[in-house]
Symmetry: C3
Subunit: 183 residues, 3 copies
């Protein structure tokens, strides 16, 4: 994976003020020192830093309940990052929407999923007390979960053939923020 | 993010016994070598190691079913770690409790969530065979999930305005262990 | 954790073409340069690379609905990797199977879980439209989720005493692919 921001600021490659005597492993005292060009660690790291490892994605829903696929957005940002291997963490900053991964081919699959969840946890009639009439949405959001973690290799998401990444909207339509962190 | 423990022990910065000939990318053979002070990689890394990237949190529940918010504990440990950017993985080491993220403002939201889950999966009457009379708790734990992953930046959890981190207790009251790993 | 593949390919340790003037932190211009043996960063990193941080696991189910524990496979690959501290992300590349963590002792617990899910979301009778007669499996897969993240320390998964890692098969029997990424 591409060097992480915090470390690149100096934790790995920057010098410190400790005496040289604490550095025994870097050279052999019995070997005659050689003249060398300096390693260019910091510049390389700085170049890496120009590429971000964190993005904020916007995903738009148009109905109260809707599964909105945004796999393409994630794949594009991953490409933009230049990262090769690691994990992508997607995290929705809302309490009435979740994230999931499911079939991206037949639109009846997301339709059936929303239908089943609505059957099990209807908006009204379960004796909810929360005054905003969206307790069902909060519960469905926790059942699908606020985040998904997807591994990638060679710069490509390791999604299965039929897998797509979906925002699970349970109280829309709205624009939702999804944080994408690459690690 | 702060340098990870394993790597800091020497995988990135330690010398090895391979011949110098395998190091072509570090300097240009057509350029006259320059005299340089040695880079001080290892000391800097050692300083980073003083801060831990893993914590064990204790979260106490008082009822059989309860959502216990512990966002503050997580935020404090994150601050203590000194990590700036990355992900926090929270992981509950139990099979009858889960973790979730949901609204931290109106206590009716967690109440409604427990109420709905109890309506769908009651403790008794579904024909469970597990002898401890807590199959409902095991199932609810798997539905909410054993872990949550939350991104952070500039040392702050990237929670949405209304989001809090909750232990989902389904077979309490007890003290529960939650592993917090920063990456 | 062991050095990650992408970075090891050169992002941290490779030279770049920037002028030396941008490297002020590596040496003090007022200090007389010392002769040193070159640091041997790249070789050490190459050695680390011999151990993989990503694996593809195969998990076999034999019934339409089944919880198949594969904790041992994960623990073995983790050992093989040599990684000491971090997180294991397990990710199933299918849309009708999920992953979960639950009790590994009494087989009645997984049995009760499948029973409850089947009661709530039966294969037939909910008015599903998806033509493959496995909408129930897609929904259960999203409810359990496509991935689990487990922290580890000193090379050991930080599972609780009773916790096992399970493939949740909802449309088997089949061989399922699970990506294991160590970070």
């Amino acid at each position: 994976m591409v060097t992480q921001r915090g470390r690149a600021r100096g934790q790995c490659c920057e010098s410190s003020d400790l005496p040289l005597a604490t550095l025994p492993s870097l050279f052999n005292p019995h070997e005659r020192p050689k003249l060398v060009a300096p390693p260019r660690l910091v510049q390389s790291t700085d170049l890496v830093l120009e590429r971000s490892m964190m993005f904020t994605l916007k995903v738009r829903s148009h109905q109260r309940e809707e599964l909105v696929e945004f796999t393409e957005q994630v794949a594009e940002k991953l490409k933009e990052s230049g990262a090769q291997d690691g994990i992508v963490v997607l995290y929705v900053q809302h309490t009435t929407a979740g994230l999931t991964i499911n079939e991206n081919a037949d639109p009846d699959v997301p339709r059936d999923m929303l239908h089943a969840l609505r059957t099990l946890i209807p908006q009204h009639g379960m004796g909810f007390r929360h005054g905003e009439e969206n307790s069902d949405a909060h519960i469905k959001a926790s059942l699908t979960g606020p985040s998904v973690t997807v591994p990638f290799a060679d710069g490509k998401l390791l999604l299965g053939r039929w897998q797509g990444i979906f925002l699970c909207e349970f109280d829309g339509g709205r624009e939702r923020r999804v944080i994408m962190m690459i690690r």
